[in-house]
Symmetry: C2
Subunit: 452 residues, 2 copies
């Protein structure tokens, strides 16, 4: 955290890099107003917070731009410091000139995440909210956005803070007992304490469990496409991609490679994984391919198992049974119905979907089924965590809480309980930032983009 | 101009596309405040202009983002209409959601340049100023920026407007004479009129002449590197590029191809053109290459003629004489001084520069010479036009003005003078927008980026 000197006045481009109609350069710190007064045509000393001022920015006599300055006065700003946002014409040249001018006049370029770090240190938001700001900016789908914005607005921090306060209460009573240990008193009601611990345990478990879902939502829900060779897996992948190309194209940064494709369906990101065809073979390389396909299937959240409408059905269904343990997350889909339309009638009793990937028939039913599978996992009010740091600290907290519960049941002595409780408090505090270390902050904020 | 319906309320992303810490969505029109009231957590009806308001944007109950809204009330805004700028978190997803929400609630997506078009139609700026906004955003070098911002701030429009008003005065007097033509009166003082016309002619000629320079500044000053084969032309190009890579890298969008390289030196953009080596040859393909090299040299603003310090000098200097007509824009540079250090002494009486492109010796002297050549063409206060449309209309005006002057000298009748004067007024008016056609506006503003 050496480079995050907190008394400097910092500046950075806040809008995306590149050319736009306008761009915003942001400056924060106790010298923000002084520095702007040196280069702006109007004195900002006595203007009200949350007002906008038109004027020119000059480097000595040289006109850089006509700009609008938005003034936010301490503490009523994002960082809690004096903040000025300079809205200039969006040429890269002007952006650079203004930043150079601001640094020449006493501010320095902000480090990644430094504005948000200041918002955190000035208690404008807690640590998990600050982290959600980065997630929010990076979110590419509706669900990921929902999770991030809930977290930024408080999310589970309030709950955690309450639990932590209650835990602190009990902890201090237990520690008090230690001071009077020779008198064998109990200030902390063991029964109430046990209740609290069970509540915390339940809450923690729920949050930790939600991570798996939160994580897949953030990174795209993995859907493996399995099936025998030549059953149309790649055709299906292409069809899915084309079907939704219109939606995808609205959202930049969708990554693609040869065997995976991320597709945004109704605000959820799915990561479709094409796999090697499954069949009995003695070819060593093919065996490795099949092994990998099954590994992908195990890690996937959903499996689309493709059958061929024109091939022997009994043999194909026998194959499905071989991977019985994956059946609870499997959608069985019959492809090539265009070549064998009667199959829908023949198999109508089975809970299969029928498609022709080639003719794009039945694809909408398939995507609807996918959505509904994920939606049933997502009750709307449930808090979902998507940050692996939070998941890790929550898990560490849970370990300590379980130790305390067991200790209580086994009538373990207060001083031993106190150790576990302190550890639990420590890990909980790390999530919302009641406990911080410079390393932790450096690690979190260095991942931010500059200007945030 | 069909799609530029002027009563609609329009919206667009105003900042560069892609992810940033924040992004700005702009909305302009008489429904701007109403539309924002439907989706924003605070009523903006009675807030003052130039104030900023924190709150949330919701789609029904679904939270889209926490935002800052900047309110500019008619006529105190860029467009002259009610304008609201929504500063949201910079995710592409949020940008899209907010734009969709605004269009759902009664605004439509703005066409390219439509905000600036409205600023023009509401008389916030004239047409040449509006065009300068686009140039300003696109400017990549200090000089191009200077020309654009001078133009945006009024530039030559004020001068042109004054000349045009005086011309209109005389024109109306001449037209008045036509009404009294049977009485043979002269309301317009011919001598004064002639003076005015000569003044206009001088002004127009100066502006038209400035275009060549303005245009090269806008597009990069072409510098052809000529010389015999193997004299080190490509090495020089590479050295120039590397020398200035640090400066270039600050400025995005610099285009490169195999034979040309744009380099920003002290705020000026130079476009260096590597050419085929010049020599006597009977190879048909080589002859075509040499022909092209000479064509490039003719079009270039400056020629760097490279000599080889290790080769026969008399023969080389003989080659220079073959292109004598280009000598007034030629810098003769002796390369490979590392292999023949004595050459500097031997030739010190000649006005040559001495470099070693390989060792990067003497390159700074070379770039300084380039800068000084351009600087002598640029007296600081002179108005420079860089817009080809302006150049064209100015040239057409000049033709008419010359016709009027000749007519006056030949005592031509008032009704014939009036025709030329009207044409001159028409073309002058097209520059600043006193005269416009929908086609003209469509053509100008469709070249803008969306959001401006």
């Amino acid at each position: 955290m050496k480079n995050y000197k907190r008394k400097d006045t910092i500046c950075a481009l806040a809008t995306g890099s590149g050319i736009g109609a306008i761009a915003i350069v942001r400056i924060s710190g106790n010298q923000a107003i002084n520095i702007c007064n040196k280069v702006f045509s109007k004195n900002l000393e006595d203007v009200k917070s949350h007002t906008i001022h038109f004027g020119t920015i000059k480097n000595d006599k040289e006109l850089i731009d006509e700009v609008l300055l938005s003034v936010f006065k301490n503490p009523y700003s994002f960082t809690g410091e004096d903040v000025i946002e300079i809205s200039c014409h969006g040429s890269v040249f002007i952006q650079q000139q203004i930043l150079q001018l601001l640094t020449k006049n006493g501010s320095r370029m902000a480090n990644p995440g430094e504005f948000t770090l200041r918002a955190f240190t000035n208690r404008k938001m807690d640590l998990s909210q600050a982290e959600a700001v980065a997630d929010l900016i990076a979110s590419e789908s509706k669900k990921a956005h929902q999770i991030a914005i809930n977290q930024m607005r408080g999310g589970f921090s309030d709950d955690l803070k309450k639990l932590r306060e209650q835990l602190i209460n009990f902890a201090s009573l237990i520690e008090l007992e230690l001071d009077f240990s020779e008198e064998d008193v109990e200030f902390a009601n063991r029964e109430q304490f046990n209740e609290l611990l069970l509540l915390i345990k339940e809450k923690l478990t729920k949050l930790i469990d939600s991570f798996q879902l939160g994580n897949v939502i953030k990174n795209g829900i993995p859907v493996a496409i399995l099936g025998a060779p030549n059953v149309g897996k790649s055709t299906l992948l292409n069809t899915l991609v084309n079907e939704d190309r219109a939606i995808v194209s609205e959202i930049a940064g969708t990554t693609r490679d040869t065997i995976e494709d991320v597709i945004n369906i109704e605000g959820m990101q799915f990561r479709f994984i094409d796999t090697a065809g499954l069949r009995d073979t003695s070819n060593k390389i093919e065996i490795i391919g099949i092994q990998k396909a099954l590994e992908k299937a195990e890690k996937a959240k959903v499996i689309i198992y493709l059958l061929d409408a024109t091939a022997d059905f009994k043999a194909q269904e026998k194959e499905i049974k071989k991977i019985k343990k994956l059946q609870n997350k499997m959608i069985v889909v019959v492809n090539k119905t265009d070549l064998n339309p009667n199959i829908c009638k023949t198999l109508k009793k089975k809970n299969y979907l029928f498609i022709s990937a080639k003719n794009k028939d039945g694809i909408e039913d398939l995507t609807k089924t996918l959505i509904s599978i994920i939606d049933t996992n997502l009750s709307s009010d449930e808090t979902i965590i998507s940050n692996s740091r939070h998941q890790e600290e929550l898990s560490k907290t849970l370990v300590e809480i379980i130790a305390v519960i067991e200790g209580l049941n086994n009538d373990i002595s207060g001083d031993l309980l106190a150790i576990n409780i302190r550890q639990a408090l420590y890990h909980l505090g790390l999530i919302t930032g009641e406990v911080t270390t410079d390393d932790l902050l450096g690690n979190i904020f260095s991942k931010f983009c500059i200007g945030k």
